[in-house]
Symmetry: C2
Subunit: 342 residues, 2 copies
DNA sequence: ATGAAAGCGCTAACAC
DNA sequence: GTGTTAGCGCTTTCAT
């Protein structure tokens, strides 16, 4: 491997100094056009490639932002990452990805790793296990932008981009009621994550506002997965006060519910089912799954904008904004929408 | 923001020199246990966090490997990334992700960006547009490990991890023939990507080996997407020599095909359909989609191992191995498997 | 077992 | 408009 060309090589070649080269290359104004031209040409000729590491070490800016998500395998997060990249690319920032795999330990390591890599800021959506948030404090202490999205925590005084999850829970429930269902169950996670609690609260309020009877038996606390959906549905169906509709914590869980219902010939919309997230498969299963769209595209875009704004000011935490996006119901066959298109 | 602690602060605190601190922290053997202990303690007390940038600049190793994929939104690639991370984590390497979005320009930029970030190596799966591969040469020129997976190119003398795509095409076709289908069509991309050409070749050979008539009309060249699937199916159905089964270039395309077939009441397995990739939704649509499993988990694992092996030797390109994984047919309802479980 | 010192490639005062 | 120079935080060779 031949040694890589540095600005010193270019300087030597042209009998000028490195500062001139550096300035010419970085668009410094007070440089004669002739010199700049020459430098750029020579750089190209020598196949020069800047060492961003050295630049970052000196300037203190890496132009890399760390993104922590539970998993890229969930379409919702993949979508967000996609739009974060989109929103960031014009500004020269790049992303380094870290997956927590829903584990607090991994998340803590992720923050440390990213900080050691000297990222300019971090965007994160917390793992289901995350009860303690002190690992995030260090980012704030370093005065680097931290933007939390979707799965956030109110103990942290940082900007957040979230869905109106209370509204999402309320809307999903109200929508089922509007469709004529009267005894609505709710499957969610045991974990004390704000968004899931909010949704549950929305559900409860919708039940109450519509003067429907509320029963604790209608609330299933467990995990969120296809298996958990099956299991939750089975449990609800054994109940003497059998529900006629189910709100599932996410689309995977809803899928499990549908599987179970089909097996016992209660195929939705006989028993109504609605999920959350509008996953890639939700439109394509049979019956197609009604769901609450959480607008990952907008969320990612908002994250990027928020970060750029924070990165632009001396003190990123001067004015903390909490952006709340409104959810949308996607009406499909699992709640009786017969002309659902795909 | 208070200044961050460096090894100088630790050295000053203990009245020793930075070299000792550095050695103590990096597990250098010839250090007294007492000193090491003291250093570690002080580091902790002062809330020291190593600056990996500085370390990387000096040592020439960033312990970051760049991964370029068309998109994380495809479950196949998300899976691969997941297992690459898994395979790499014990070695201390981390991933920086770059999405080409199926664009050659983006891919070229990706390579440059990653190289400027001084990654220790790159793993890539090429975009559909990639016809010229010279941007990858630079990685090899720098003697850094380049591992190509899935969508590879034979012009590049680098290690590859691929599926036996010829076999995949052959198996899918043979499987349809075994199921009793006799006039089998094939929808694929116009792009001259090796894996798609190989599959097509497998398809043709299977047709020939089974002494079935071959017709150019049965081959649809277009894009790969739900829309392209619908379109391709529509075109095939208008043909006077209407096929009774369709091999679709990927599961999304197959989904489009199924949509179309359902509309005209030729719901699979009436006309058989098989896809490639075993996407997240494939098991859950109706009818469930038979597909060729490409084993992303194994592929990612192999990528990680290959990279680590290359990174471990002085000349990474001493012995170039090309690993070929064997595909597996997943039999579901779209080809007549009635007891397909979910 | 520890210290001294050079330098990785680049930036940015400060000079002129 | 260009040169000089001092680091950014760390590793590592060469001493001792």
């Amino acid at each position: 491997m031949k040694k890589k060309t540095t600005i010193y090589d270019i300087a030597k070649e042209l009998n000028i100094t490195v500062s001139t080269v550096s300035r010419a290359l970085s668009g410094f104004p007070a440089i004669s056009d002739a010199t700049r031209q020459l430098v750029v040409e020579t750089a190209k000729r020598l196949n020069y490639s800047p060492n961003k590491l050295a630049s970052a070490l000196k300037s203190g800016k890496t132009f890399i932002v760390g993104v922590i998500v539970p998993s890229v395998e969930a379409h919702f997060f993949a979508s967000i990452i996609h739009s974060i990249e989109e929103g960031l690319k014009d500004s020269g920032y790049r992303i380094i990805l870290y997956q927590s795999k829903e584990s607090l330990v991994n998340e803590v390591n992720g923050v440390r790793t990213l900080l050691e890599a000297q990222v300019d800021g971090i965007m994160a959506s917390m793992s289901l296990e995350t009860d303690d948030v002190s690992h995030f404090e260090e980012i704030i202490a370093q005065n680097k932008p931290l933007v939390l999205f979707d799965r956030v925590n109110k103990q942290l005084r940082v900007p957040t981009i979230t869905l109106n999850d209370y509204q999402a829970g309320y809307m999903a429930t109200q929508y089922l009621i509007d469709q004529g269902y009267k005894n609505i169950a709710f499957i969610t996670t045991v974990h004390q994550i704000k968004i899931f609690n909010d949704r549950l609260k929305g559900y409860k309020d919708a039940i109450r506002d519509n003067k429907l009877p509320f029963s604790e038996d209608n609330i299933i606390l467990g995990g969120l997965s296809i298996k958990d959906g099956r299991y939750g549905a089975a449990k609800l169906l054994r109940s003497e006060n059998r529900p006629d509709a189910i709100v599932a914590g996410d689309d995977f869980t809803a899928l499990g519910v549908i599987k179970k219902l089909k097996e016992i010939d209660e195929t939705p919309p006989k028993i109504g089912v609605i999920g959350f997230a509008n996953e890639a498969f939700s439109a394509y299963i049979t019956p197609s799954l009604s769901t609450v769209d959480q607008h990952p595209g907008e969320m990612g875009k908002a994250c990027a904008e928020m970060f750029l704004q924070m990165a632009g000011q001396l003190n990123p935490y001067d004015s903390i904004r909490n952006i709340v996006l409104e959810p949308t119901i996607v009406e499909r066959q699992s709640t009786g929408n017969t002309d659902a298109k795909d």
